[in-house]
Symmetry: C2
Subunit: 311 residues, 2 copies
């Protein structure tokens, strides 16, 4: 199969074998925002047309490609939802294979004129006080670790620009909350007065730890944020430490707000940001289980295996 | 006397009579950021040179004019501090009166070549956990209402881009905290994804009330912020209501974080923002006393009266 993780700013395609193992990966900056005139089919053909011509099917996609700004809107499925509900709500797109732009075709797939792919829906969730929340893409990552989690209750964190915290019970996503932490960090650094006392520098673990610890003080986040400036003016933190201190304050606030009564949680993701969440959790003495970064391909593989009914 | 409120983006000069009443007011956009080549004396002469030539003295200034980016840095005074400590830490700037650019001089002040003015210092405060905080300008507004407050303990809120909450005991400022609420609102509206579902519109009281109420829910500010987008996607709030909803969430979080165990507080300021804080406080059933907007001229007048010692 071909697994496609198609977000706002990037496109990742994976070729999976029959056991769900990734045999080949390609990545580009062709996120949905950079696709003009709705040329999604052509963009996908450019990324993986040779795999399709070689007969690799089915194609299953997740992420913002299913949003109103994407290829086709795949309506949100309402929580609680597990693999069956999400698989049966996928929507199908089809297009003509671009014979003219392809290299001379010599394989047996010459006759194939129409190609199609599946887009996973997002999830929506109504909180206890009636406030809505949505995710699109992360639900597939969660599907990817459901087997590993097994039955019972679990809490899952997916760090990101908009990080997601989901509750899972017996292999179904029961509810979730989004935290704007990553985007708030970026806009404060780039556009607020806090950026004026920030210099580029390597991650400063000591400043990050101070920030996470600060998040436990009274006064609240809006007050703690100003401390990034006041501490710089007082010479308590250096310009090269300020960004790490701010990051610690924000992630500390998120971790504290998202884990009341929680004894441990699962972290899904890879790279620097996930490492920061794991570090923050260790400072707060919250045990974490970090899952490998192939959750999205495992989730898309699980969806592909559940396609039989509506393919 | 001449009272000067000189901030980052605006300059306000007031002519006060011997009883401290404002007889004339002028305002311009000549904030310290728009003054080039350190031409502060010339800018002040342009704003109030005729008052000075007419013999109105002394001149007392407050605000960012005393910062490192201003005319001369007036070092922070440490809390606790009252009128005597702040008055005695004022610093003096002097300059030559610009005879060439002035109209033909006919008053008795012809001989006066050198003019001088006083700059009020800012305040700094070390919180319980050793985190620093600073204010510059608001301390003079607090001085302006100290007489009205009288002895005893009081809590004061000064709404603004960086709003200040100060504790006062027996006419001395004992501690304070800054909240970045106003700036966070502005950068999220202008630079984050939340701005994409916001349309210009009048203030929407119902959405603001929903935001203040939302701030009491579990999940924390970083989660509640994302709700501005999710609620818009769900059609629960209209694009014209989004900004008011966001404003309510932020002010609600500030009010809740800044008033634990507080039965009432004093609001100092005028205009729309102060009205929003009063509305937010009423939703949270926090009684407020709103003080008139002339706190800054009353504070500068009090400082002028305490100049005798070091003038």
């Amino acid at each position: 199969m071909i697994a496609v993780d198609w977000g706002t700013s990037s496109l990742r395609v994976y070729r999976l074998d029959d056991d769900g193992h990734v045999s080949e990966t390609r990545q580009s900056a062709d996120g949905i925002l950079s696709v003009s005139d709705g040329a999604f089919a052509q963009t996908l053909e450019n990324a993986a047309g040779d795999w399709m011509s070689a007969g690799t099917a089915p194609i299953v996609m997740s992420g913002m490609i299913g949003s109103r700004q994407g290829w086709q809107e795949a309506a949100y499925v309402t929580c609680p939802a597990g693999l069956p509900e999400i698989a049966s709500a996928m929507c199908r797109v089809q297009w003509k294979s671009p014979a003219q732009s392809a290299p001379p075709v010599q394989s047996e797939s010459t006759a194939q004129e129409t190609r199609h792919a599946w887009i996973a829906p997002g999830l929506s969730c109504l909180g206890a006080t009636g406030v809505n929340d949505v995710m699109r893409g992360e639900e597939v990552q969660i599907l990817g670790i459901l087997h590993e989690l097994g039955d019972g209750e679990h809490r899952i964190c997916l760090p990101g620009t908009h990080s997601k915290w989901a509750g899972v019970r017996d292999r179904r996503i029961t509810s979730f909350s989004t935290y704007m932490t990553g985007e708030v960090f970026a806009v404060l650094k780039q556009h607020s007065i806090l950026g004026r006392t920030m210099a580029d520098g390597d991650f400063d673990e000591s400043a990050f730890v101070d920030g996470v610890t600060r998040a436990a003080d009274s006064g609240g986040l809006l007050h703690h944020l100003f401390g990034v400036r006041a501490e710089a003016l007082a010479g308590h933190i250096h310009d090269k430490q300020s960004a790490s201190y701010l990051s610690g304050i924000l992630i500390g606030h998120e971790l504290r707000a998202a884990t009341p009564g929680i004894e441990r949680f699962h972290l899904v993701g890879a790279g620097e940001l996930t490492r920061l969440y794991a570090l923050g959790a260790s400072i707060l003495k919250l045990p974490t289980v970090v899952h490998e970064s192939d959750a999205v391909t495992r989730g898309l593989f699980a969806l592909a295996q559940n396609l039989t009914g509506n393919a």
